[in-house]
Symmetry: C2
Subunit: 817 residues, 2 copies
């Protein structure tokens, strides 16, 4: 088949109006420029590219008349034009060439579209590959389906303008920019046969997370992991500005990429033949190099970090769109970023040029009369799962294997009596996670921002090392080319790599200082939205949950000071859909074990577990912990008055979190000694969601059970790990919410001691006892002495701390029922 010349003289059709000339794209001919592609390959690739571009323009503009079988009319044009065309031709070009490579090399590959609102491209490619029609039968591979594909795009009830859970083959949401390369690296980990084509927008490349993520190659093992091929789409513009990377000399750009450990090849130009030949050359070179790297690592056991190949793709913004609109240059400028012809519905001139633009892709050479792609095009579709739009790893739940979990009670600490012993809860958990790591050597990873040991999980390092592909120094410890822990001082990288790992069907844990998890608030938001939206996409399967272990928490950052004290991540988390989010506050080592075992078995949640790393009393045996955690909330009869749920206490002392539990039980012991007649009920909350009404969260206690635990009318003194009003929020609809008095973190902090921290926020045992005296009417007069003693005790503790620099030695005599 020979090249067909397109619109011979588009200039005759130029549209002028008061706003200036609007010019349709002239179309182009393929030339005989030499290169690795023979004529047929060149034509096939170009046909794919034109087809995908046609389908992309169609998605942006059309709600009917998909094959232009009748003259384009206003009613065929969508009333609101959304999606960004600027980046689309680059995405489609990469997809087409990736397909050639997949077919030639039998690659298993996935595609990550970093640039924002470029959804039309991957949608188009998935439709050409037939996957769209397999997953959405109404969107068939014909004119009727094409019309649906166009109509639904960015239309009410349809699909978003960026890649999303609805997009076949996508595991990366393009809504908030910056995470494409992290997701790509996360997908490649433990997927030795996978190639990830990751297109990074040059706008996105300005973000902090993306800038950090180039270093993902320091953690990618050529032996164990797959390959990531970054393709920097350098089309020069973001919404309204040029990009930084497009406005530095190419020598500087290449130095930057080399400095990040890559061996970049530049593919540039605006002549399609030249770019096709150059892209094919670059891709062949890159994939040959990847094969060599993997061969060397896997067969010759070369363990030196290679310079991984990457491609810089320097093509015009909005390539192939109208060069001039209303007298202003569009193609190749920032004006091509979004929608080049914004008035196509109302303005007949714009509409004429739109039709010419669509025709410039020569649809009659791409689709048969019923709208099915022609055979030449389909030659570029890889078979079955080899299609990037159908790779099962992009629908991670389909390849997810359950973890092999040891029995957590085997790791439980002995608890001869409540409070008789102490343990560092996270260190105990570390033993369990050590064996989880060992038992699941290819689908479980732990991520930490240089805080694994600080958070007391270092037992994991007895069975593996820290993944490290860079140089290893004489005094470096636990670095391991095949390590199962990834530590890098970037919460963004930890979160992004873990997300990529989970989204492609594996399991993992992210342990972080509590205050600094706010660094990834936005990433958490986006992941929670993905989980929520994907749960409504019928062909998506549930993923392993995203498990946080937040330690070095607000109450034990006394030494690091105010900057390190912030329990507000819980508030961010609880803004997301209740179907997705879970928050656990285990009060001791055994409950932490039980909770974590549960989290590792769960699916499609974000589990936030907050637990301390400092020695804290043990309260519950393994059996008791199992029961208590299964309930998520419960009366600790041994700690309170001998009451059953049917009786009525004078006051309920509730607690959630390890330090609040400690202070509550210490207060209880004081009360038991000083006011033995007072009927106290102690309620401990592990699963924070139990507090919510059942109609607001699936874990919510029925109102009757809540009332039984908390009474309908007695005062409740609730010591809480986080900001106090979160408890008010959760219990707002409960009968006794007016009786709820919450102590928690009041944003008072400094460099001091642990006990001073609880005193600064009025959550210490002495203050709790004072609160009890204030809340129980009968005590206000009879227990005035006790109240004064508590005030004195606080002053003494404060004074001791100021003078000695440490807490007054603890003298708590636990007094249980």
């Amino acid at each position: 088949m020979h090249v067909v010349t397109t619109t011979s003289d588009t200039s005759a059709d130029n549209v002028t109006s008061g706003r200036g000339e609007t010019v349709a794209p002239p179309g182009y001919e393929l030339s005989d420029l030499p290169g690795p592609l023979d004529r047929e390959e060149l034509e096939t690739l170009d046909a794919w590219w034109r087809a995908a571009n046609y389908l992309s323009v169609g998605q942006i503009y059309l709600m009917a008349n998909p094959l232009l079988t009748e003259p384009l009319a206003a009613e065929h044009i969508k009333p609101r034009l959304l999606g960004h065309f600027g980046t689309v031709p680059g995405l489609n070009l990469v997809w087409a060439h990736a397909n050639r490579a997949i077919l030639e090399r039998d690659l298993r590959a996935v595609f990550v579209a970093g640039p924002g609102h470029g959804g039309p491209g991957p949608n188009a490619c998935a439709w050409l590959e037939g996957t769209y029609s397999e997953l959405y039968s109404a969107i068939s591979q014909d004119a009727r389906g094409m019309r649906e594909l166009f109509h639904q795009f960015s239309f009410p009830g349809g699909v978003p303008s960026h890649c999303a859970p609805e997009t076949p083959g996508s595991f990366h949401e393009g809504g908030e920019l910056g995470y494409s390369l992290l997701h790509a690296y996360g997908a490649a980990l433990d997927n030795p046969d996978l190639t990830v084509f990751c297109v990074i927008g040059d706008g996105e490349a300005e973000t902090g997370p993306l800038a950090a993520s180039w270093h993902g190659n320091k953690f990618l093992s050529p032996a164990r992991d797959g390959a990531v091929l970054p393709i920097l789409a350098l089309n020069q513009y973001k919404i309204a500005n040029p990009t930084v990377l497009a406005r530095i000399p190419e020598s500087e750009l290449l130095a930057l990429l080399r400095g990040n450990g890559y061996d970049p090849v530049v593919v540039g130009g605006s002549d399609p033949t030249a770019v096709h030949q150059a892209m094919a050359t670059a891709l062949d070179t890159a994939l040959d190099r990847i094969a060599e790297i993997q061969h060397a690592a896997r067969l010759r056991h070369d363990d030196q970090r290679p310079a991984w190949p990457m491609i810089v793709l320097r093509t015009p913004k909005g390539w192939t769109c109208p060069p001039i609109v209303d007298g202003e240059a569009v193609e190749g400028t920032f004006r091509a970023h979004q929608v080049p012809l914004s008035a196509a519905r109302a303005d007949a001139g714009h509409r004429t040029v739109l039709e010419q633009w669509l025709q410039s892709y020569r649809p009659q050479e791409l689709f048969d009369p019923i709208g099915h792609p022609l055979p030449q095009l389909l030659r570029l579709v890889p078979p079955g799962d080899r299609r990037m739009s159908a790779n099962p790893v992009a629908n991670g739940g389909t390849v997810l294997r359950d973890l092999r979990l040891p029995d957590w009670p085997d790791y439980a600490v002995e608890v001869p009596a409540p409070g008789a012993t102490t343990h560092e809860a996270t260190r105990v958990l570390g033993g369990f996670l050590r064996d989880v790591t060992a038992a699941n050597p290819d689908n479980f990873l732990t991520f930490a921002p240089d805080e694994l040991a600080s958070n007391r999980l270092q037992d994991i390092l007895t069975v593996t090392g820290r993944d490290w592909q860079a140089q290893i120094g004489e005094y470096d410890e636990h670095l391991d080319r095949a390590g199962r822990v990834i530590e890098v001082l970037s919460e963004h990288m930890c979160q992004g790599l873990l997300e990529g790992y989970l989204l492609t069907g594996r399991h993992g844990v992210f342990t972080c200082y509590e205050a600094f998890i706010h660094i990834v608030d936005a990433m958490f938001n986006q992941h929670a939205k993905w989980l929520d939206a994907s749960s409504r996409v019928p062909w998506r399967r549930p993923l392993a949950s995203l498990n946080y272990l937040l330690s070095s928490h607000v109450w034990r950052q006394d030494h690091n000071g105010f900057t390190h004290q912030d329990p507000g991540f819980l508030d961010v988390v609880l803004n997301k859909k209740p179907e997705i989010v879970r928050v656990y506050l285990p009060p001791d080592a055994n409950t932490l074990l039980s909770v974590y075992d549960h989290c590792l078995r769960s699916r499609h949640y974000v589990n936030v577990v907050v637990a301390g790393k400092q020695p804290q009393p043990d309260w519950l045996s393994a059996d008791e912990a199992a029961t208590h955690c299964a309930r998520g909330i419960g009366i600790w009869q041994w700690a309170g008055h001998n009451d059953d749920p049917g009786s009525t206490p004078d006051i309920v002392l509730a607690c959630a979190g390890d330090v609040p539990t400690l202070e509550t039980l210490a207060a209880t012991s004081i009360l038991r000694e000083r006011l033995p007649q007072l009927r106290i009920r102690v309620v401990n909350v592990v699963d924070l969601m139990r507090l919510q009404p059942r109609d607001q969260h699936p874990h919510g206690l029925p109102d009757s059970e809540f009332d039984t635990l908390f009474t309908r009318d007695r005062p409740i003194l609730f010591a809480f790990h986080g900001y106090p009003w979160l408890i008010h929020r959760l219990t707002y609809r409960r009968t006794n919410h007016a009786g709820m008095h919450v102590r928690g973190y009041q944003e008072n902090g400094t460099t001091t001691t642990p006990f001073d921290m609880v005193m600064l926020n009025n959550m210490d045992r002495y203050h709790l006892v004072r609160d009890v005296v204030d809340l129980v009417p009968e005590l206000r007069e009879t227990a005035a002495g006790l109240r004064q003693d508590m005030t004195d005790a606080r002053l003494a503790a404060r004074d001791w701390t100021r003078r000695h620099g440490e807490d007054i030695p603890e003298v708590t005599q636990w007094r249980w029922h």
Copy 2:
């Protein structure tokens, strides 16, 4: 004066225990290695360095016996050893050499300490410079003051382990890592005579924000701005791991830095003389180059971006600390990161080595018998404000000038009647900000992540351009070497640069899409903590407020879909101290003007203003807006029943935010038509803090006024911009909180239309009318028809949207009192 050899044979004093040998540092002699420093300069610099190191070790370990006038005993050692020594010698080295340069070149300079918990270094230098004693008279420049300096460090009631508001000369908090270079660049903007020495830890360099911030040089004008000299402290280790940048070949590291636009010089080694000479050479070269760059730009008007000099300082972690502790290598390894001798209080062996370590700095050659620094040292102290510890820009409030503000009513839109006209509120504000920009050409900047025009502030670009020091392409618009707008697609960079600008005494605005402001949650937290803590440091002066303008908000991101919809930043903000945070939700253009005028005049707050960019009805004239915003909350009598605060309505319809206000007023119009006898009160809230009790926020309404507005017992239907329960939180202690029913964003969203968004979240006018019928007991039976009509209207609107892809044309007939 000649070099004195220290501890002649420390090996004889080696301490061994069951845990292995512990070796004191051997001390060192300066050599005659050639270099730019003559003997006297070399000795002076080294003496400063030793003195600062001595004072740093003292801060970490000692609570008494500061000059070692008696043998070191357990009671001299702090019970808890905090602060990280590992990075301190590097910080002190840079400070000493910077002082030499300041004196030689009469520089005005400030110091940014990026590495975490390195506070002892800058504290020590500030004490040597006398600033500490000037600001804290009890910490005098003698043994008594030295003891106080030591005692207070990381001690209850004392100062944090990192640089903090308490630290003289610091405007950068080192608590959460990643922002040092952004703060440095922010400080340099519009400070043409300033040199910022910015030490970046190689751990910090792994963070996303830091990785992005190297590109700060693309926005630093050599003509208009000062200079930033980045010094990458490559001491190889973070807490438990080597750093990435220390484990790549030096050629790769240099390529990375060159690719980021720098001309790096490496200073490396562990021999003090060699490092001193090399550092002096590097600093001279760098500062000569900076002078050349500035000369070329300012006198020869060279406007090409230069390669700015920077220094890579490759010295041992914990340099000069004990080389071996308990048989394990410490100096130069990750074990030197924190506290090298952790058992110094309890273990006599450790204590002996600690004493030897302190003596290795030869304190008798540094301090006179009463503890005052010797004259040789003081020769390195710059005069007065030239001391980095005393530079007024580091206490920004002292150099802050009020903005010249035009009269905002001059920009107000005409409002012939409520709802009769529409405007894009942020576009109106843009006109005001344009003239603010023009009137304050050297101390006001606007920051945006490529969203200035998208958020409709482009009028600013009629008086200035976007700051851009990189190349300018043929089709680039509004780029300007002296631009007063900084756009970069990194919320981290926008926030960090603005923080640095504010912290050094200037004014600015950050405009951002509402959902993506979560990207800087953690940075906001840290800045709010700085404001809070600094307000308790008597010598700190109030700063200009950090002003956010959040637009493209949750209700108007229908087209961009679920990922772009998140109003949760308000919840993060309200966790911080009420003295610091303000949230404004102006309902229209004129109220936005009034609010922003107020924000730009305010001091030491974080002002969050949320306002839409889409055409919305105008409600209030300039005069009415001024009154309403001054009150922050009020009854809109024209919109409700003719009621005064003394009367009793059947229901209160409250609203906060532009879209909630629109829907509330539309519901009111429907109710007025259909139920003319219903007594409705409309309350609009601009200042969200008015809802809180007065004892919880300074803006809080007294309970009596709240009750007057909201009644004590009538139902309240509150339409709110954000997540609904925030209103419950704020009004939790109010009399009528049980009557409060809130509509807001329920995390329901997708790609759809604006009106569908409010319907999806049950905040649309029809649902509000239904709510009124449900909430007013008398209406439940009498208005069943109205309720059904509203249901029908919702279904019709939904159906129209799904079929036409746009909202049903609005037919609201405003019916006012």
